[in-house]
Symmetry: C2
Subunit: 330 residues, 2 copies
Amino acid sequence: RCFHFCKLPGRVMGIRLLRFTSVVIIVLLLVAGALTALLPTIKDDKLPNSRREPKTQSQSALDSFTLIMQTYNRTDLLLKLLNHYQAIPHLHKVIVVWNNIGEKTPEEMWNSLGPHPVPVVFKVQTVNRIRNRLQNFPDLETKAVLMMDDDTLVSAHDLAFAFSVWQQFPEHIVGFVPRKHISTPSGVYSYGSFELQNPGFGNGDQYSMVLIGAAFFHSGYLEDFQQQPEAVYALIDETQNCDDIAMNFLVAKHTGKPSGVFVKPVDIRNLEKDTNSGYSGMWHRAEHLLQRSYCVNKLVNIYDGMPLKYSNIMISQFGFPNYANHKNKM
Amino acid sequence: RCFHFCKLPGRVMGIRLLRFTSVVIIVLLLVAGALTALLPTIKDDKLPNSRREPKTQSQSALDSFTLIMQTYNRTDLLLKLLNHYQAIPHLHKVIVVWNNIGEKTPEEMWNSLGPHPVPVVFKVQTVNRIRNRLQNFPDLETKAVLMMDDDTLVSAHDLAFAFSVWQQFPEHIVGFVPRKHISTPSGVYSYGSFELQNPGFGNGDQYSMVLIGAAFFHSGYLEDFQQQPEAVYALIDETQNCDDIAMNFLVAKHTGKPSGVFVKPVDIRNLEKDTNSGYSGMWHRAEHLLQRSYCVNKLVNIYDGMPLKYSNIMISQFGFPNYANHKNKM
């Protein structure tokens, strides 16, 4: 026998109650949905489009870097440099981008002279293209990439320091070779180094690019590079140049800040003249620098604006090599 | 004559309708309130406990800084330095902390020699205490403070550059005088400069403090400083020293990172010997450095741990004064 609870309203009242309840529930769901859309999304510290790390990723992938070195017609220099770079602190792996089409890699010789401190992977290419080095290699396990030209030697001290700097500026290209663009009254940009006039923002010079042929950058940018407009690839392929300028455009667009952080190297050497091959590198071509100015202007068209920003920050290592290298006569 | 609309339910139905509507509204408000609490709070770029800026704050308060200079018994140097600092780019105002108790400030003379580029405020103190300069002055309108000792001249070029660096590292003390602490096997810390052994983290030296007697820092830290344990004030008052070490502890605790960023000065001068007063500054006291080691250990006790962190980043200005100051023989 039920008393109060059973004193249900009439059937008509029951239907009205049901209807009101449904309306209430629907309205609540709509409001909740609308407000939920305003909740903050979980911040991911990776770059957009970067692959999510597996939870089992080892510590080493966070505290070490992968050297990517593209090589063409200078295998003697390559091997000399591999002996140097294989032992750099915090190096995880070396990826050699083998642009010597049809030629065997030195992998056999490499193995016969083992053991080695780190694994070296030879990526055989099918076409000799400068942008081969900017592929998103599946062999990459680290967040950081160190990209080096196959004729450049940077001391372990410089690299260890620059890597620690990159860890503090992971969204920037942290490297040893600064360059800049300048505006001209005609609106046409020109590319150069410090021999060009200063951009005119206060005292001193500024740089707006750090070249990737001797620099650390986040591996996520290789992934981003695969998503660029076709015209970028066409430009790089046409000139066999400017992949580094394109990367600086990409990074500057991504961060809204200067793309690079310049670390002043203590010991950086160009081994070009030491090669037996007689091959002397793309930058000796007559049109090399003109091409780079051309690329800057083309990229501004492609990206519909100039994303590069200037910086005048120059980083050196406190107390090294000279423990009193910051001393003031106060 | 109304037809459908007037066919109101009975009085009882009307009350039920009203009741349901009220319930719906109340539930919706509760849900909305709950979800709104989950919405992201507007990110304030000020430090916690910093006062909220009035909406009418001018652009200048963001792009300029306030010079705070404490002075005792060196009014000749003060006036010389005021002539220099009053014209530094991006200076908003000068606050002179007048520790000459009972003595008239040079305000009359200052005014008679006007006009001046910026306002100067003389804050007359009642007790000659070193931590007077760390008050949260209501005259402060800028986010940035430049704190200078009254015997230190830093060139306008250095200051303009360091200010631009501070704007990129606003939570750090950006300045010209690096110092460090070192651990010893006994667990007792010692304080010093680069003549002390390197802390032993890789190559070269490290610094863990940047002294505030020639540095930029966020004005919010002055507010934070008012919230420190009483023992900190007692320590500073007892030693008439270490206010800068205490500030570095505060900043390091706040950020969890190295407190300072060292900018290598091109032109920094100590004018001590130039004073007519014969007064030569606290750091000449025999016990000065021993006091500072003592302060480091006391502060570790007070804060229950060592928050200072090491850095080896040394920042210089690219292409200034020498436009080729980063040139490599590659």
